[in-house]
Symmetry: C2
Subunit: 242 residues, 2 copies
């Protein structure tokens, strides 16, 4: 990516250097939302319980997709796991390394190609199921992840049940998506931070039923859902055919 597109990385970089940071998301329909930038540097003890619980499913060699500033990767590395963190943000990866992550690479989810049996866990925390972008791409990548992983492998992915909202603006946007044959929660958005703006990208949020539809035929099935006390949840997926 061009340096001016690394809004995510710049947001982390500011925080890493102790200067003001914030997270602003712009949806294609003009809806603006903010996130909590402190989240990305938070320690295990500060994570919400449903995220902590998800860590119990981690095993063996871990691929952390969209590792951000490395909060999960660093926690797991500390616990003795063999972790590779990848992120499409060059600055995020630099920060992971500065924070002590031994294996961190700049890589988009599309560039994820590894030999069979390379990983036992694929981690997509913090809503990173979204990186699957859309139904077809999710299926294609899930098939690829199947080949890359051991027979007892798991995928641990966080997402959000978009139907659990009463916001007229969100419901309108979901309807707009369905009318043009996109999934309700296939959100086209970009991240903005000061003079930096990411490219527009699709970020996919799904209900549990939709998640199951996506898994169909990919070799993966849901093993467990970990609910939060709001619309976020984490899906633990395992191989249906071992």
């Amino acid at each position: 990516m061009k340096p001016e597109e690394d809004a995510f990385g710049q947001q982390f970089w500011a925080q890493y250097n102790g200067t003001e940071s914030f997270e602003v998301m712009e949806r294609e329909d003009g809806y603006i939302d903010v996130g909590d930038p402190k989240l990305y540097f938070s320690e295990y003890a500060d994570w919400p319980p449903f995220e902590q619980k998800a860590m119990k499913f981690v095993k063996g060699r871990v691929l952390d997709i969209g590792c951000g500033a490395g909060r999960h990767s660093l926690f797991l590395q500390e616990k003795g796991f063999d972790v590779l963190g990848i992120d499409n943000s060059p600055l995020a990866v630099q920060i992971c390394r500065l924070r002590g992550l031994k294996k961190a690479e700049v890589m988009t989810i599309d560039e994820v190609h590894f030999k069979p049996n390379s990983f036992d866990t694929i981690l997509m925390m913090g809503n990173n199921f979204g990186l699957f972008a859309n139904f077809k791409k999710a299926q294609r990548l899930l098939n690829r992840f199947y080949r890359m992983t051991s027979k007892d492998a798991v995928i641990i992915a966080g997402t959000r049940d978009v139907y659990r909202t009463e916001s007229p603006a969100h419901l309108r946007y979901q309807e707009f998506n369905r009318r043009r044959d996109r999934m309700s929660g296939q959100i086209r958005m970009r991240l903005r931070f000061k003079e930096y703006s990411s490219k527009w990208f699709d970020y996919l949020m799904v209900s549990k039923e939709e998640l199951k539809d996506i898994l169909e035929g990919t070799g993966w099935r849901t093993k467990e859902f970990i609910d939060s006390d709001h619309s976020f949840y984490i899906a633990i997926m395992e191989k249906a055919l071992k």
Copy 2:
């Protein structure tokens, strides 16, 4: 304004109702910044010292231009001053009334027309010198304010010395402004909150020298500057010709 343009009011309304609020500003060059929404509901004890000091210059009948959620107006009303708060945001004015402000009206700065000797203090706190928008309009409004006020009247206005920055993005934008014959700190921006977006508007920030240039010929002169420990400052202006 159209309801969907009242981003400021919606931001206050969310906060007034105890739901998530945030302040996102978008400059015309794509620069994104956030403010602290809690500021707008803060009590005197929580204000920065330079704002507290400015209150000592308030006298008599007060016009609070861009009163927002009413923090200054309510403080002064409590102190016994006769205060009229105006804001272009209908929701902001509604909130002021709900919070107990006796005199609050929906009015833009352009609509400010009052009989001679109507006020003793014009208050433009929290960077609201910016509402003057540009050099010419500032002079036109200052002339009008002269006629509306008593002979010992003061204007208390907060602004920001835009030259006190090292941000390349800000310096580039200032240069861009000068090239097209705008003042360096004549910022074209809009406010965005969830599905709400204000219209684009000019917000003027000036150095002390620039402020003095603007006052030239308006009948006003600077009486005192109250500095903060950063680029913000408050100008106390009085009538040069009484």
